[in-house]
Symmetry: C2
Subunit: 105 residues, 2 copies
Amino acid sequence: MTWSKTEKTVARKAFDEAYRKECEVLTEKVRTMAAQISEPQDLWRIQDLLEEQRRSTDDKYDYRYSVLIFVFARLIREGWLSADDLAGLAQEKLDEINHLASRQW
Amino acid sequence: MTWSKTEKTVARKAFDEAYRKECEVLTEKVRTMAAQISEPQDLWRIQDLLEEQRRSTDDKYDYRYSVLIFVFARLIREGWLSADDLAGLAQEKLDEINHLASRQW
């Protein structure tokens, strides 16, 4: 699949926005956990969460055009993107993304 | 070196207190950093700090009587314990701890 200049702009924006949203939710979670620390173990729980999320986002947010269809499908499935965020991509790509997003995993 | 029952009580209390203090300082640092998160990288900075501190405290807080003199010397050197916290240990142990604490590392 080739990506036109317009599509690349749409894709980049949607990708960055999803990452930003996911990090915002994580930020709120970390702030809540930090406010509630009452014993050392609570500190290490924050570390465990951050480690897991860092690994997960590093793995998930892979901006290579060869895998972007799969990345977007996953982000829609997980609720970080809506189909509207991808308006501007070719119909063929949108169909493929929606098809993948609705599959059972 | 042998540890009497009284010394073991003093040692345990001082050890736990130092760990608690160190975790409290770390908690304050994490809360401040969490409040100031403004970009994803700030989240991973918290993880880096926690990872480093967890490794460091796991290594430092080693409650084996065979190494406790060295542990207390380090905690005094780093300011997590004062000599007063160890009142009740045999003079021989206190001398050794103070001697080790004042060495250059």
